[in-house]
Amino acid sequence: MSDTERFDDVTHQLVTGLDEIQVPPAVLRASAAPRRSFPLLAIPAMAVVVVLALAIGAALRPANNGAAGPGAVASPSPTAVPSATRTAIPTPTSAPTTTATATATATPKPTPTDIRAARSLPEAEAKRQVESTALAVINALKAKDGAKLATFAHPEKGVRFSMYPFVHVDTDQVLKAADLAAAFTDPRVRLWGISDGQGAEVRLTFANYYPKYIYDVDFAKAPQVSYNRAIGSGTVPDNSATVYPDAVMAEFHYPGFDPQYGGMDWRSLRLFFEQKNGTWVLVGIVHGQWTT
């Protein structure tokens, strides 16, 4: 067996074993502010400096009262140095145990880590799951921040762009994270689909597709936002529940702009998120508007 094969075996075993470690839920608590521990450590240090300065000052001062001298200064007792960590757990422990914990009795199979059939989640739960991510994606779209957008893309599937609520799985453009990161400056002309009504091929760069079939209105300020509940509807059927059964749908919707059209000039942008390793990632962006 070659070194490469041996190393591959080690990698496989480590990944298989370590990925089974249960990870407690966590949120980012850290901030850019200085560590709280700094002033705690600085206090005794400053005290020592002050006392030493006083001692030196007293030693150098003329003996006008006969009491000056090293012996006249109380020595500091800097023994109590506060701990700078939050991790101290004074639990007496035995040596690390390395024996298998497989003595645990057989337990029911766990539910998968990633939520599946997410499109069936009730709206409130769907909102709770993806709202923050959906808003972040909308803001990235609004800012034309391809690099940011790329961080939300499904790492393997990428993001499929659909001009209308009917998703063409075979022909809609799918952009991977690397493509998204450079999308706004990518000169490549892509065939995005066929325009409904005119029946013409829509061949555009991403930068030109974006203002027509992605962010044609300010969806970040959409008056209506729904989760797993379609708001906009027109003549184009919506097959997203079939195409994205494991995804939560977030819809940003404008019911209309010009009263004379009676709501037929509605706009929607639908974002579809699937869970990947416990994180909601973007798999689809579907534009919606009235078509004839």
Binding site: F7, V10, T11, L14, V23, T85, T87, T99, N277
Partner: protein, 160 residues
């Protein structure tokens, strides 16, 4: 974990969301402990938020791992005592997963601290040998031979 080039506008919350689990597992594997791991990861992200991420960092995740690992080691040197990993195990795990995990952790535990760090950093986190040499204060040649020895001992169940 995959390498992700950094930028001044790095979305640390997003990195946290996507990398916390892998970092946690890597640090548990490298240290054999769970206590203090979350705090160490939080401190590593705090360093990142304060702009400490080097511009030439090849992998944000690799850098976070090294910072957090050093944080744990410093805490240990200060005499802090941790709860052994076994006390953190979940009895709700399926049997096969528990066996796999326990076997890997048990074999890692037979290695020296340095060997554990090398193996996890190299094969789980994906650090290069140059990055390992810099992070662990070793020469590149020493890293190479130490990895080979550690890998052999790990595969043999630590009996070599």
């Amino acid at each position: 974990m995959t390498a992700r080039p950094t930028a001044d506008t790095l979305d640390w919350e997003r990195v946290f969301d996507t990398q916390y689990r892998s970092l946690y597992r890597a640090l548990v594997g490298a240290t054999g402990r769970t206590e203090g791991v979350d705090d160490a990861i939080q401190d590593a992200f705090a360093e990142g938020l304060r702009g400490k991420l080097p511009n030439d960092a090849r992998s944000v995740e690799g850098w976070l791992f090294v910072v957090a690992l050093n944080r744990i080691k410093r805490s240990r040197r200060r005499g802090l005592r941790f709860v052994p990993l076994r006390q953190q195990e979940s009895s709700a795990d399926p049997l096969d997963a528990a066996v796999t995990r326990a076997d890997v952790l048990a074999r890692l535990a037979t290695l020296s601290e340095r060997e554990r760090e090398l193996l996890v950093a190299k094969f789980y986190v994906g650090l290069t040998q140059d990055e390992l040499a810099k992070a662990l204060g070793m020469s590149r040649g020493t890293v190479s031979s130490a990895i080979s020895r550690a890998a052999a001992r790990f595969r043999a169940g630590g009996t070599q």
